[in-house]
Amino acid sequence: MSQQTASPVEIQMNGPDIQQMLDTSVLTTRADKFIAWGRKNSLWPLPFGTACCGIEFMSVVGPRYDVARFGAEVVRFSPRQSDFLLVAGTITEKMGPILKLIYEQMLEPKWVLAMGACASSGGFYRAYHVMQGADKIIPVDVYVPGCPPTPEAVIDGIMKIQELIASGRRRPVQR
């Protein structure tokens, strides 16, 4: 290339049809918005399915409810690969340290959804070996009620997480 040739960017910036190009093939946005858009549409869930809710989560992934429509079908059991912890089922005191470890191993940014009554509050197990909600040890962004919640409710919860990501808000309660 000779020295006289200008760089492609310069040519476009100096060209007469810059306005037309902006109208047809360029979108402007803020970097954080753009990143959030990417994140919210490619959630990689880690289903921490411990009990009955785990079975309902299978329905959420299954063909009828198909969570792939929301970009969250790449289920990964490795905390290093996922950014969305889905606590599906009762967390017992024995399981507590493991849940905490898995949450800590996930890379930031990460979001947590408590699926069902047990993960949210211990549910109807007000019992000696049941932790009264996953939020006793890890932060939770969205709680989905139900025992177990219907797949529609879980998908609604996932959409709430997506809204949270898009808005850039931090979780309501920091622990």
């Binding site: 009990a51 309902e56 063909p63 017992t92 024995k94 898995i102 070996h129």
Partner: protein, 559 residues
């Protein structure tokens, strides 16, 4: 040879030579014995009277008695179809002989009793906690332990092995330690497998359970009988209605209630639908472990169709709580049976497709044939029941052996395997599903007319129109809600054939509105304790495949 308690009574009194007390409680034969005679008596029963199955061991706490604990054994003799409950009393500071030399399956049951009650066993190979975590102080099923006192832990146990597997309980430094679970895709729940590998071969393997111990039995002691039904849903949550049926059947037998024909028919239909979807999810997830994800998508559509049928009955999909003591919770909507028959057609088509995809598939056969074998003798010794036992060639199905709800009038077969390997378990489940569909068709085509529940005002809530419409209905409703159902004083063991095997409930009532003690006999519990034994010297990939085929459901395993 039919079971004759008088023959056994004579023989046992002579042989054991101790004071034995024979009683009958609600049709169950009970033997009370002094605890010193445990081993000779059990050996005699096993060898001479065919009591090959040690079904359940549990404790009952009576804090105000001199000898605090009752210790209860349930035995079953498949040849004579005899059932026996043996009871002995143990003081708080006393020990009792371990039953493990006679029945290997006693191992975990005794560990559970140790964990829950603090009963000590002499000669037990590995007496350590099984369900609660290691920082847990106290014994939760004792009456003086409050149901809601939680204890926190920050520790996870490192990998450990049983003393019977070698003197060093830590993994060998020269071998590769491996930890699978409790959050791992292959465990389908909260199971933890700890192993030691030499290359790909498993040298030692151990399992740790209790990660989903939700205190079902303690919850049962603090709730009214009908309030327990939702808790039973969450035992084997893959086939929730079956647990409802098992529990209600136990309470009904104790109260001498005969439910109407329509309720019986509905319970059969629900049980068989649950059996089908339980087996489907077992085969589907097992195939996921083997790398065949497609099967899972196929079967889950059928599960959804069955969920829709449940939804039409009660509004819930998975945890239905459909039965009540005395019958069903609701009547069927009109046309439900017809839709059920349509659903059955769809499932049958799906099973045929599965059959074409898997049964003669070369890869599937190579991964499953001869893998995860267990012989009939071992299976019986560990207390296997259900499809896993039948795959080993033992013909035992409670629907045939002690028919209930009119199963004896239905036309169906019980498939039996020969090798007890993974492939046989698959074949048995496939055929069982077809037989279940056959049962559903027979019942749905001849659904009895009439009421769906009994109308005893001391057991069943009056209909809403009576509660709102007249003072008597209102009073009955009020009284039943406040006072609850009150079965007579006594104890009973009753069992049904659930998807994984014999699901038993041992219920002790003190005449109050809550059970004094409710022990579940979970089929998975007995099956899973054989797992380390089965996997010794196998490939690590086969560990995953075998685990899936045993269909261990954590809710039922840990309760």
């Amino acid at each position: 040879m039919a079971f004759d308690i008088s023959v056994l009574q004579k023989d046992l009194s002579e042989k054991v030579g101790a004071k034995l007390e024979f009683t009958r409680a609600f049709g169950d034969d009970v033997v009370s014995f002094p605890k010193e005679k445990l081993l000779p008596m059990m050996t005699h029963l096993k060898e001479r009277h065919g009591f090959q199955f040690m079904l359940d061991i549990c404790g009952v706490d009576y804090p105000n008695r001199a000898k605090r604990f009752d210790f209860v054994y349930h035995l079953y003799a498949p040849s004579s179809k005899g059932r026996l409950r043996l009871k002995t009393q143990v003081g708080e500071t006393e020990t009792i002989e371990s039953l493990t030399p006679v029945y290997r399956g006693a191992n975990w049951f005794e560990r559970e009793a140790f964990d829950m009650f603090g009963i000590r066993f002499a000669g037990h190979p590995n007496l350590r906690k099984i369900l609660t975590h290691d920082d847990f102080v106290g014994h939760p099923l004792r009456k003086d332990y409050p149901a809601d006192r939680q204890q926190h832990t920050d520790r996870v146990q490192p990998i450990w092995f049983e003393p019977s597997q070698g003197s060093d309980s830590h993994p060998d430094k020269s071998l590769v330690p491996i930890n699978i679970g409790p959050s791992h895709p292959a465990t389908h729940g909260t199971l933890r497998i700890m192993g030691e590998l030499d290359g790909e071969i498993v040298k030692r393997l151990n399992v740790e359970i209790g990660y989903l111990h939700r205190c079902f039995e303690k919850m049962a002691e603090t709730h009214f009988y009908n309030q327990i039904i939702p808790y039973t849903d969450r035992l084997n949550y893959c086939s929730a209605p079956m647990n409802n049926v098992g529990f209600c059947k136990t309470v009904e037998r104790m109260m001498g209630v005969d439910i109407p024909p329509k309720a019986k028919a509905m319970r059969i239909v629900l049980s068989e639908l649950s059996r089908v979807i339980d087996h489907l999810v077992c085969i589907g997830t097992n195939c996921v472990d083997l790398g065949a994800l497609t099967i899972f998508w196929y079967i889950f559509e059928q599960r959804e169709r069955v969920y829709t049928m449940f939804e039409k009955l009660c509004g819930a999909r998975l945890t239905v709580a459909l039965t009540r003591v005395g019958g069903m919770a609701y009547d069927n909507p009109s046309g439900w049976e017809q839709e059920c028959l349509e659903t059955v057609k769809g499932i049958r088509k799906c099973i045929d497709e599965l059959d074409q995809l898997l049964t003669e598939n070369k890869i599937f056969i190579k991964r499953t044939l001869g893998v995860g074998k267990i012989s009939a003798e071992d299976a019986i010794d560990f207390g296997f029941t259900g499809p896993c036992l039948r795959a080993s060639g033992v013909n035992l199905d409670l629907r045939k052996a002690q028919p209930y709800y009119g199963y004896d009038q239905l036309d169906f077969d019980v498939p039996i395997g020969t090798n007890g390997d993974l492939y046989d378990r698959y074949l048995v489940r496939m055929e069982e599903m077809r037989q279940s569909l056959k049962i559903i068709e027979q019942v749905c085509k001849n659904m009895p007319a009439g009421d769906y529940t009994i109308r005893d005002k001391n057991i069943v809530l009056p209909e809403k129109k009576d509660v709102w419409g007249n003072i008597e209905g209102l009073m009955n409703h009020f009284m039943l809600v406040i006072k609850g159902i009150r079965p007579p004083v006594g104890e009973i063991y009753d069992s049904t054939e659930a998807a994984n095997g014999e699901l038993g409930f041992y219920l002790v009532s003190d005449g109050g509105p809550r059970p004094y003690r409710l022990k579940v006999r979970p089929p998975c519990f007995a099956i899973y304790q054989a797992f380390p034994y089965m996997m010794q010297g196998q490939y690590v990939a086969d560990v995953i495949a075998t685990l899936g085929s045993l269909n261990i459901v954590a809710g039922e395993l840990d309760r």
